[in-house]
């Protein structure tokens, strides 16, 4: 087995990737396209989390508990 393929998965990833810097350092080193995609993803991810957290409280406040159609 070659040196390249030795060790656990985590060790191999660490060898490939090297030390991970802070988020800001990583963004500064990224190509523009990838950086923009990461920012858009962060925004959409935030909105999805907001939706997940607040959908049920909003429904309960607006329509109350139980099947309310009418």
């Amino acid at each position: 087995m070659s040196e390249e393929n030795g060790g656990s998965v985590e060790e191999r990833i660490a060898r490939h990737v090297g030390r991970i810097g802070t988020f800001r350092e990583e963004m500064a080193e990224m190509p523009k396209l990838q950086r923009r995609i990461v920012y858009i993803s962060m925004f959409c991810m935030f909105m999805l989390f907001v939706q997940s957290i607040f959908i049920m409280p909003v429904i309960l406040i607006k329509y109350g508990w139980g099947y309310s159609v009418g």
Binding site: V9, I37, C44, F49, S52, I55
Partner: protein, 237 residues
């Protein structure tokens, strides 16, 4: 040795006993909390309880980065989390409408409530179709396809992507193309049945497009998946 890869077929040592397991790294702990947050958040009904787990995941990743034990770029974590929360909402959350849980008062609060806000199909004739839950056939078809086929594939691929496996990256690309087809079918369905769906909701077109844009993950991430250095992802099962 495998004739195809010239590598041993079984590379990992046999699973050690619980007593011999090495302690979990900070990143693995962060991943565990992230997964818990994603599952709870994806349920929608219990979304509020995901907040502390999200905080814990972020805290562990930050600590791992400071210690130098973080082995995954932040961008992979962000893209992976974005896809995972999307797939989780659609798998766990939407699954509650597909499965027998649609008979519970909790789901009869959540889904007709969602329907009145965003999509009339979720409250008009609710629980009156052959499968229960929403009774609009075109929406139900997409729900069955999404919950039973596409989103489980996407969750599995995304978890492997977060573990920096090559097949995870490939799975993300494949399921992104599936998702694009799904997304267009969804939009076409909604607008063909406008009066009974978008037109019958409180927030109309704005609410619908708020949902459609936030769930357009494949359009956002495909360029990233094609431009990322594939050598970062290990060729492991």
């Amino acid at each position: 040795m495998s004739a195809l890869t010239e590598r041993p077929l079984f590379k990992r040592s046999p699973a050690p006993g619980a007593a011999n397991k090495p302690p979990k790294t900070l990143m693995e702990r962060g991943d565990r909390y992230l997964l818990i947050a994603i599952i709870i958040g994806g349920s929608w009904a219990f979304g509020v309880f995901a907040l502390p787990f999200m905080y814990l995941a972020f805290k562990y990743y930050s600590r791992a980065q400071k210690e130098g034990t973080l082995t995954r770029p932040w961008s992979v974590t962000i893209i992976g989390t974005f896809v995972l929360i999307d797939a989780s909402i659609n798998f766990f959350g939407w699954g509650t409408d597909l499965l027998w849980s649609h008979n519970t008062p909790l789901m009869q609060t959540l889904w007709p409530g969602y329907g009145k806000l965003f999509d009339g199909a979720y409250y008009i004739d609710y629980n009156s179709g052959p499968l229960g839950g929403l009774s609009n056939y075109s929406e139900k078809t997409l729900e069955v396809f999404g919950v039973l086929a596409m989103y489980p594939m996407r969750i599995a691929s995304c978890w492997a992507f977060l573990k920096m496996k090559r097949w995870g990256l490939q799975g993300m690309v494949i399921t992104s193309y599936m998702y694009i087809g799904f997304w267009f079918a969804y939009v076409a369905n909604e607008y063909q049945d406008f009066s009974g769906r978008i037109g019958a909701s409180a927030w109309g077109n704005i609410g619908t497009w708020f949902i459609l844009v936030m769930y357009a993950t494949p359009f956002v991430i495909l360029p990233y998946l094609y431009t990322i250095n594939k050598e970062l992802f290990v060729d492991e099962p």
